[in-house]
């Protein structure tokens, strides 16, 4: 098994874990955490491909990862802000409880 395959597998595993969390947890914040995990898995893939790709000096994968980190930060900020707002509004962060599309 080549190192790249190893990294890819780890990434896939992380991704699935994140997805599982996002699918199964009640708490909205934890869903967000799951999504963060998925993002990180993607980053790992990018970096791995950059490292073992044909043109590491082109820095494409690296740049992609850096940008995705920045975007993830923004995403977390807004997402959690929304969660807090929802909590203030509905007094719960339980996703099963939040299924009303209005109000």
């Amino acid at each position: 098994m080549t190192p790249l395959a190893g990294y890819l597998l780890v990434a896939a595993l992380l991704f699935s874990i994140g997805l599982a969390g996002a699918l199964t947890r009640r708490n909205a914040i934890l869903v967000l955490i799951g999504i963060e995990l998925m993002l990180n898995a993607a980053n790992l893939n990018l970096i791995a491909f950059w490292r073992y790709g044909p043109h590491p000096e082109a820095l494409t994968g690296m740049m992609f990862a850096i940008f995705s980190i920045a975007v993830a930060a923004a995403e977390a900020a807004v997402g959690l802000g929304l969660v807090i707002q929802i909590h203030r509004h509905a007094h719960t962060t339980d996703l099963d409880a939040m299924n009303r599309m209005k109000g």
Partner: protein, 692 residues
Amino acid sequence: MSDCGPSTIVHLLWLIPGLPIVASGIIALLKQPRRRTAATMSIVSLSISLLLSLAAFAHVLSAWTTRMAVERIHSFDVLRETVNFTWIQFGTSNVDLGCVLDPLSAIMLVMVSFVGLLIFIYSTGYMKYDENYTRFFCFMSLFAGAMLGVVIANSLLLLFMCWELVGLTSYLLIGFWYQKPAAAAAAKKAFLTTRIGDIFFLLGIVWLFSQTGTLLFYNNGAGSIESSSLSMLLTQPAALGLTAAGAIGLLIFAGAAGKSGQFPLHVWLPDAMEGPTPVSALIHAATMVAAGVYLIARVYPLMAAGALAGGTTTALTVVTWVGAFTAVFAALIAVAQNDIKRILAYSTVSQLGYMMAGLGMGGIAVGIFHLITHAFFKALLFLGAGSVIHGCNEEQNIRRMGGLKSDMPLTFLTYAIGMLALCGFPLLFSGFWSKDGILEAAQHWSVAKTPLYMLVFGAFLTAFYMTRQVAYVFFGHWRGGKPAHESPAMMTVPLGILAFFAMALGFLGTPAWPWFRAFLDGRAANFAWSGFMEPGLLTLMATSTVVVFLGIGFSWKLYGDRSPKPSAPDALEKITPMTWGWLSNKFYIDEFYNMTVIAFYAWWARVSDWLDRRVWGGVVAGVAWAFALWARLNRFLDNNIVDGSFDKGCDELSVGGGLLARVQSGRVQTYLRILALAVVALVAILIWSSRT
């Protein structure tokens, strides 16, 4: 000069028109009540221009004397200096503008700025009680600047720009008292009439540019009216056996005719007298109307190119005939007018005719000399008339004046001088010498002798109507309302100065000492009594003297010192009512135009109006109606067919939406699940397809 590069004064030349224009701009920005500032500014700027012009004149003069005395070069071109620059550049060809300084422009500069200055000073007195004082001075300085621009222009295009600017200011100033409908109408008339000429002028310019590729007059041999391009132009034939040069010349002449009121475009000039008197003096006597003459002098090489036997060309012949005819024609009309300014206006027209004829027959020098002298004495006469009007509190009809020689002696004196100069009273007055120059030229003209006789007759008429006017105005006894009074020094002093020049200037151009002509032609001027000894000259002088005396005497016999009732018919009318009718109605030219040109336009306007209302209006209405109908139809369809089906469709949709809504549970995780499943499917498909 031109070969050793232009000197400083030429580089400063642009200041001469520049200053007054700037002044007018500033005045335009002033508040209305800033009367004193406005006047001072325009006068100061113009006097600076005058100084500069004098400097330029002196420069040319010294150059001339050195050339003549030392190097003995006899050529017109060596005295010319030009400064050119590129204005626009498109592709390879570019339009140049520039200034030229040569004896012609130098003299014109001095004349224009000097007369202009005097008239400015005069108008500070004349316009004292006008509420639009500042506006007046704004326009005046703008005019002065534009006129000077015309003079120094070395490019037909620049000249045309200033030309139009001059036209504009003339329009503005004729209509200065726009409250008076007459003034407004006159302004319109002037503008439109001159515009007719200007269109031809523009055509000429375009043609010239298309032929020669440049609009500069002089450009060290590459100019449009210098030998190279002239010879090129001569090879180009145009219609009616004219060369391109001649044709362009004639087109330009049409413009000149428009500006300086040559028949048949003279009609605007008399009406232009609706403007304030200083305006009439400056624009419609001394400078602007002379611009046409100046223009012809400027492009003289174009007109004279390819001279036939006897040193004349078709173009010049046309100029001559038009000039001569105008001279007599206008003089005739002037005989039967009663408005003091109108008489002067018609006399101006006729004098311009003289100048044109002079140009046509005798060359630049003759025409321009008369132009200069005329500028002075006609300005003098107008200012005198202004002072008279001022004195008789805005009375303009000479039949209601009389006996003013005692009431306003200064005005009388100066006016008399002007009148004598205009009549060409022998020896003492400038008019005599300049007019004799023209007559002499006519005498030696090879084509025909008729112009000579016409001009002599014109001289007789001139003497006649001027005497009539003076007799009416200054002799006899006062027939008006309130008694007249002398004008303030602000007005009389310029009169005096002008009067002096009206006499003195003549001695620059006596046959014995033809300084002026020599200066313009760039020849040496040397004094010799033998100048009079040329064949036929003395007889000619004698004839014209006799003619003048005849005119004066005849007129005096008719009008002298007997002051008829204003209502009573004119003395001449008693003799020949028929002729009088024709003359007093200006040969019905205006009526003629009314019946032909204007009538046609009115008719055409009515026709297009009718088209507009009936035809196009109908069409539009029809289209609108059709659309309205279509709209009704649509509404019907909407209400009954579309809406119906739409409602049914909506029901369907709402049912389907109800079904879909089940999926939209609002559970984020459900969505996420579906998403994930989709991913799985997608990836699976991808791998599956990529196998083998």
